[in-house]
Symmetry: C2
Subunit: 336 residues, 2 copies
């Protein structure tokens, strides 16, 4: 694997340091914990704090979504590993502006365990912590076991909605409810074309044979539901859309927000090729795309592939998706 | 090569269509030429128009820099090929708000020829076109032949400065002078770790052996000056910085703007690893980093590698780099 690395054990520290340097107008490092990134202006007095966290290797997720109208503090884990309970706790304490804290995170065993532990410790310190667990990855479990599904790029839309509701001055319960509604209205699917390699390893931790693609692949190379011949881009786009729509209650006249993310090594122009087909197919079904995000929003090191995320909008979600947000990974402008 | 593609001959059309759909709040397609992307609100009456153009495969360059306070119209070429003179001409005509047009582009034979042709045709139609040719790629020609050097990611900073000067209401000559000053103050270098493949081809158009890296590689795989063993990230960062600084007149007390771009397949976290070292090394030399951009700003399909771009700032360039700009590829916020 041809990559820019020093000692693989240092890669997360170096990433966080470089990130905080590059974006110091928006974020800083927690003074006592170098695995916690904090948005400028946090804590916001009287506002609900928004916290997330997750493994490294998904940049700009998770740390890149710290900012204004988004996430207040981010706990940073090792590559593809949950942050510690301590990091989640420090993120919670830092984000606490006296109105409670919502931890909005993805459904992985390590994160579940560490967030719960941090929640208990925070409670002892008098900080109310509510949680929302993202489970937007359709093919990671059947429809009747939605609670077992993983969280993937839909988390970004969950943070956007939760962050906007907090910025509006919502109570902790209102923010939690909005974030829950956001992720409930969101479905994602990933397609992998080539694997990624952890920097400390000699070879990839899974294989995708040339000429094949894996439908339903997870953000860490978790196996998908099917390995099939690599199809033309339009057919891949259609397949992704089918997976999402079959699990979603969308119909003609609905409005959606679409997020199409590269997994790391897929060129940006290919994302637009996929996106062109996806929006046209939605249109053909009478589904309007209110807003789209296309780019490297939630990656898996240098995996080749893409994830499609679709959120069904109602008036509240539209308002919260459209609210101003400024973070290194995502900017939504409020036009004058 | 594992990629999302349909008919390779359609890839540019599909990319442009998908791009314009995804970013329709900021850009649109020229009604008569589907290889010209136009920012919303263009032409801007009484303002100097800013035009650029270049080959596809570098997304978000070039089309992604159409927006407010940036580029007004972009001519889009085939993959790694210059746009036609006709596309440049249409971009110029569209961008013309009655105060002249500046075409700010990169030093490649095809672009030079086609921009000159468009310039002559525009003159016949009564539109004054001034040009600035970017040549920031240090290792593409020796210091005494700077005019032969290629333009690479430094073009983004040139567009930023030119776009800001136009937004301020500068005359065509003032805008040209600011963009020229910007690129004169800018140096770049690329390091390639693995090649890219044109979608119509079976294999890469050049090779980089595993365990090697190519110093000075161009945006289309133009050969660098040296192929050496792949070094640790810090050593690569130091080498890139050395190349830039040896060609630059920077000294202690200077302020710079840094742009570190991935070439397509390099994970975002590795860019932060490089960036951390680069900013620390600049600091050690007494050079302050006023603003940094780190991400996939100017890519080469799925090439693995990165480019480092450094602009020396004075008061005018600082003001113009800090001015508000909103484009799909780059956002600079004006804080309230």
């Amino acid at each position: 694997m041809q990559r820019f690395k020093n000692d693989p054990d240092e890669i997360v520290d170096e990433t966080v340091r470089g990130f905080v340097r590059a974006h110091r107008d928006l974020v800083g490092l927690h003074p006592g914990n170098d695995r916690v990134v904090v948005a400028r202006g946090v804590p916001r007095r009287g506002r609900v704090g928004i916290v997330t966290g997750g493994g490294s290797g998904h940049e700009p997720a998770f740390l890149g979504y710290a900012g204004r109208g988004m996430v207040d503090a981010v706990a940073v884990g090792e590559l593809f590993s949950s942050p510690t309970a301590k990091a989640f706790l420090e993120a919670v304490r830092t984000a606490d502006g006296g109105a409670g804290v919502c931890v909005l995170y993805g459904n992985y065993a390590g994160d579940n365990m560490n967030v719960k532990m941090a929640q208990r410790m925070a409670a002892k310190q008098g900080i109310e912590v509510l949680t929302v667990v993202a489970n937007d990855d359709v093919l990671s479990a059947p429809p009747d076991q939605r609670g077992k599904r993983r969280g993937v790029a839909g988390e970004i839309l969950m943070w956007k909605v939760g962050g906007a509701r907090a910025a509006e001055g919502g109570t902790a319960e209102e923010v939690r409810a909005a974030a829950q509604k956001a992720i409930d209205a969101t479905r994602s699917v990933g397609v992998g074309l080539a694997p990624c390699t952890l920097p400390a390893n000699a070879g990839p931790n899974f294989e995708i044979a040339p000429g094949k693609m894996e439908i339903g692949i997870g953000h860490h190379g978790e196996p998908g539901t099917e390995v099939v011949d690599l199809a033309p881009a339009d057919a891949v786009a259609d397949r992704m859309l089918d997976v999402v729509l079959e699990d979603h209650d969308l119909s003609g006249g609905d409005r959606v927000c679409v997020l199409l993310s590269g997994l790391g090594a897929t060129p940006v122009n290919e994302l637009y090729v996929l996106y062109d087909r996806i929006e046209r197919q939605l249109e053909a079904k009478g589904i309007g795309t209110h807003r789209a995000f296309v780019g490297n929003y939630f990656t898996s090191l240098e995996m080749t592939g893409a994830t499609l995320t679709i959120m069904k909008l109602d008036d509240e979600l539209t308002r919260l998706i459209d609210a101003e947000a400024v973070s290194p990974g995502l900017v939504v402008r409020k036009e004058a």
